[in-house]
């Protein structure tokens, strides 16, 4: 008997985009539970505590330091963890299995990008804690730009980790990313209030660029 087309069961007619959110939820939770992230968050809090102890509360430079430098280990950890998560299939040899499933590599990448929202939420909480600690001591009250630069840096690192995973699928590539991050963000600690806006703009633009680069690389084609 010759082959004939059998209609799809209604339950299986899903929009591929519908998978992004549940996948992002799973990835986001795993991201925040990763030991490296937990360690980096503890380090961030410790550095923040030290900055409260050693900086004059009214010193804007000191305040800028407390909103950038303590977040760098967290950003570096996020870069590495996102990179590892995106490389999970390659590292564990699961790409063959993934290749047989309806969700494409691009959808998985999109889910990883959305999962950064979990890291951003955690960062926003940490920034809020830092600001509250400073304000409680009658210290400097930040403008909007300095306050959202740390989350922007976190988003940038996540997107960079993802882009590296898609274009240079090797765990060592994240090390290059971390070095690049430190070079890039080196100026953040000394940024004057007027330059926060520019820095923020650069972070957002680079996040979009790296996110788009990651999404462009769909490796789910048949070979």
């Amino acid at each position: 008997m010759s082959a004939r087309s059998i209609p799809l069961p209604a339950a299986s007619r899903q929009r591929p985009r519908a998978t992004v959110l549940p996948l992002a939820r799973l990835e986001g939770r795993r991201l925040l539970r990763h030991p490296l992230i937990l360690l980096a968050a503890a380090l961030l809090l410790a550095l923040d505590f030290l900055s409260i102890l050693f900086f004059d509360e009214t010193d804007a430079d000191g305040y800028a330091w407390s909103l950038s430098v303590p977040f760098m280990p967290f950003a570096a950890a996020l870069l590495v963890v996102v990179n590892l998560a995106a490389l999970r299939g390659v590292r564990d040899g699961a790409d063959e299995l993934y290749g047989s499933l309806p969700t494409t590599a691009r959808t998985r990448t999109a889910a990883h990008l959305v999962s950064l929202a979990w890291a951003l939420a955690a960062t926003a909480l940490l920034v809020a804690l830092s600001v509250l600690a400073s304000m409680s001591r009658g210290g400097h009250v930040p403008g909007i730009f300095p306050a959202i630069t740390a989350p922007a840096m976190i988003a940038l690192c996540g997107a960079l980790g993802l882009a590296l995973a898609r274009w240079l699928p090797h765990s060592a590539a994240s090390t290059i990313g971390v070095v690049g991050l430190f070079v890039l963000v080196n100026g953040a600690g000394s940024a004057s209030e007027s330059r926060w806006g520019l820095l923020l703009l650069a972070f957002v633009a680079l996040t979009i660029l790296f996110g788009a680069l990651a999404l462009l690389r769909d490796r789910s084609r048949l070979t």
Binding site: M1, S2, A3, R4, S5, I6, L8, S12, Q14, P16, A18, T19, L21, P22, L23, L26, R88, G89, D92, G93, A94, D95, E96, L97, Y98, G99, S100, L101, P102, T103, R108, L222, T223
Partner: protein
């Protein structure tokens, strides 16, 4: 007669200059079809093509009448497919539940409650309900194979492709596997590859023998066994002219091919037929 779920016509696949498949043609309907063949015969390549992971270099392939070379058709096929690769690639830090749940999301099961129920169902089906919270790195090889089988069964796929599903399973687990697959195949198409001729004999309605990228035999297990009818002998000695010969656990020699002296003709098994079909190795290699 069952509807043809898979139609393969003159399919070829090459890796550099090596042919993995040469002009393979086959129709597969519902029920269980087993692929037998030596290492490097092309079984895994063919299963990867059926799982839409690889594309053939030439020939025509239709799964449920759909062409996997077309993006839309491929997606529709994948929604009806369950695939257990030879090496599934386990995420060692995931628990069994998390891994199957992850695959379930990738299978577009978006409703959390329904998905979790389904994950529990398939894990219970393969007998892993007690260890679903354990990390994969802490599970035995056999348990991991069952996790791999569980993910392939998610969503009750219409086509199930299993590459060496019984490798690493103990006899009890193999029996359980046979039970699961035979129930599954009542309404579906199951294609599996194996080195275990007993599994094929016990499970499969149809056997496809692959050798060097070609199909020398397609038929029922009894037809494969019948290839060796009149050519399997039990004797006290190794037959000098036998094509294949080995010493059985009872201390006698099972000879395939020409009869040795004072030999007793016996009913062939599926393994005998398979060895008769492919057994071109020198007698010395097998008998030791």
């Amino acid at each position: 007669m069952s509807v043809t779920a898979i139609e393969i016509v003159d399919v070829e696949k090459r890796f550099l200059r090596t042919y993995a498949l040469r002009s393979v043609s086959l129709d597969i309907g519902s029920g269980i079809t087993g692929f037998l063949g030596p290492n490097g015969a092309g079984k895994t390549t063919l299963l990867r093509i059926l799982a839409t992971v690889l594309a053939p270099d030439a020939g025509r392939l239709r799964l449920f009448g759909l062409d996997p070379a077309r993006t839309g058709d491929r997606l529709a096929i994948r929604r009806r497919l369950g695939y257990m690769p030879q090496e599934p690639g386990f995420h060692r830090h995931f628990t069994a539940f998390e891994f199957v749940d992850y695959v379930a999301i990738l299978k577009e099961m978006t409703d959390r409650r329904v998905r979790h129920d389904e994950v529990r169902r398939v894990l219970e089906l393969v007998g892993l309900e007690d260890v679903m919270g354990r990390k994969l790195k802490a599970l035995s090889g056999g348990m991991r194979r069952r996790v791999a089988l569980a993910q392939a069964l998610l969503g009750e796929p219409e086509l199930v492709v299993l590459d060496e599903p019984t490798a690493g399973l103990d006899p009890e687990q193999r029996l359980r596997f046979r039970e699961i697959v035979s129930v599954l195949a009542e309404r579906r198409t199951v294609v599996l590859s194996t080195h275990q001729t007993e599994d094929v004999a016990a499970l499969c309605e149809r056997v496809v023998v692959l050798n060097e990228g070609e199909i020398p035999f397609v038929g029922t297990p009894s037809e494969l066994a019948a290839l060796a009818r009149g050519a399997v002998w039990l004797a006290d000695e190794r037959g000098p002219a036998a094509q294949l010969s080995w010493r059985t656990g009872e201390g006698r020699h099972r000879n395939i091919g020409s009869a040795p002296e004072l030999a007793e003709l016996v009913e062939p098994t599926l393994e005998d037929g398979y060895l008769m079909l492919l057994g071109t190795r020198p007698r010395e290699e097998v008998g030791r």
